[in-house]
Amino acid sequence: MRRIDVGLYDYDWHHSIYFFIVSPDEQIYLRYGGRDAAAADSYLDLDSFALALEAGLQEHERWTAGELPPRERPEPFFAGELPRLRRQEIERGRCIECHMIGDYRAAERERAGLLDKRREMFRSPDIRDLGIHLDVPRGLVIERAEGAALAAGLRPGDAIVRFAGARVLTFGDLHYRYDGVERSAERVEVTVEREDVGPVELVIELPPLWWVSDIAYRYWSIDPQIHVSAAPLTEARKDELDLEPDGFACEVTRVHRRAAVMELHELEPGDIIFSVDGVESDPPIPDCLLYLRLNVTAGDATTLGVIRGGVRNLMTARTHRQRFRKYGTP
């Protein structure tokens, strides 16, 4: 892995398996891979893999015939350029696992003050949150459209051929392009091939917080954890407690064992967290835990405004900097 140009082979490094089909001069024809929070193989099966292989060979025929325009090669990047990864893994002769590249890189960017957690921690948003449900064995054919996708005009049987301005041949391509959409974007363009009609250009209006997905399986070291579950308060409950209507107050529903073992805080089920480091609202963030994850550096302490038994107090909570099969903290 240390001699692989991961600038060229850029992908979401938390995917368990990922393929590229590339030309002899290293132009990427397509990607095959991608997952969701439920499973590493939600979008992978032999039928869609066979379709990807066929598409890759067709692209190769076009390349051989000189029909594919040359693409600019991305800036080269090698795992050894990450100082901590080099020290803690390479120089100790340890194997570099794929996810380490993503995690060390993100941690490096966090230290440099360059990390955009909306984009880099919440990677690979779930297309089902747009209402796109694919018929996985058929590649990019839509099985069902609902929500934003339905409103945009996508229909069952449509095959997605362009997304966010780029041609897409596989779910891996689509997922990668979707991940690349600016988190501040309000819409995304999609072209589908519709039977008996041909190409149809559509615009999907992105719902608020479209980029938020369940990232628990990643064990990001940049994702601060206080190991509680919490539910946002209803408007009526906020009103009752005299809290800001657009605030992110939430009620602790469960304190996980690890919080006690690590002595992170003294939160209890039923506590209302109404502020994080003095901030009570940040629309459209709907709940305190999401605000905390986006705004607190993993491993740091944070001050929570807590209502317990009707009394408001400030409570210090330490956050846990997670590790995922790493020998040292990046």
């Binding site: 692989i4 398996i17 089909i21 890759g56 060979l57 692209e59 190769h60 051989t64 794929c98």
Partner: protein, 61 residues
């Protein structure tokens, strides 16, 4: 349908894992595949033969 394994035959294969997959590759036996764990070697083979590369990254063996 044809299995993906037989469709892999026209490609040069490169895999990057803790334990690269290796299978015997004999002329006239398209169902057997040889994965190359050295990327530079795989690119050289692709250039020499004009075949595209199937590059695999995976977690674990």
């Amino acid at each position: 349908m044809t299995t993906p394994v037989s469709r892999l035959a026209p490609l040069a294969l490169a895999a990057f894992t803790a334990l690269p997959v290796a299978a015997a590759s004999q002329p006239g036996q398209p169902e057997t595949l040889e994965w190359i764990s050295n990327y530079q070697q795989a690119v050289a083979l692709a250039r020499e033969t004009g075949r595209p590369l199937l590059v695999e990254f995976r977690c674990g063996p």
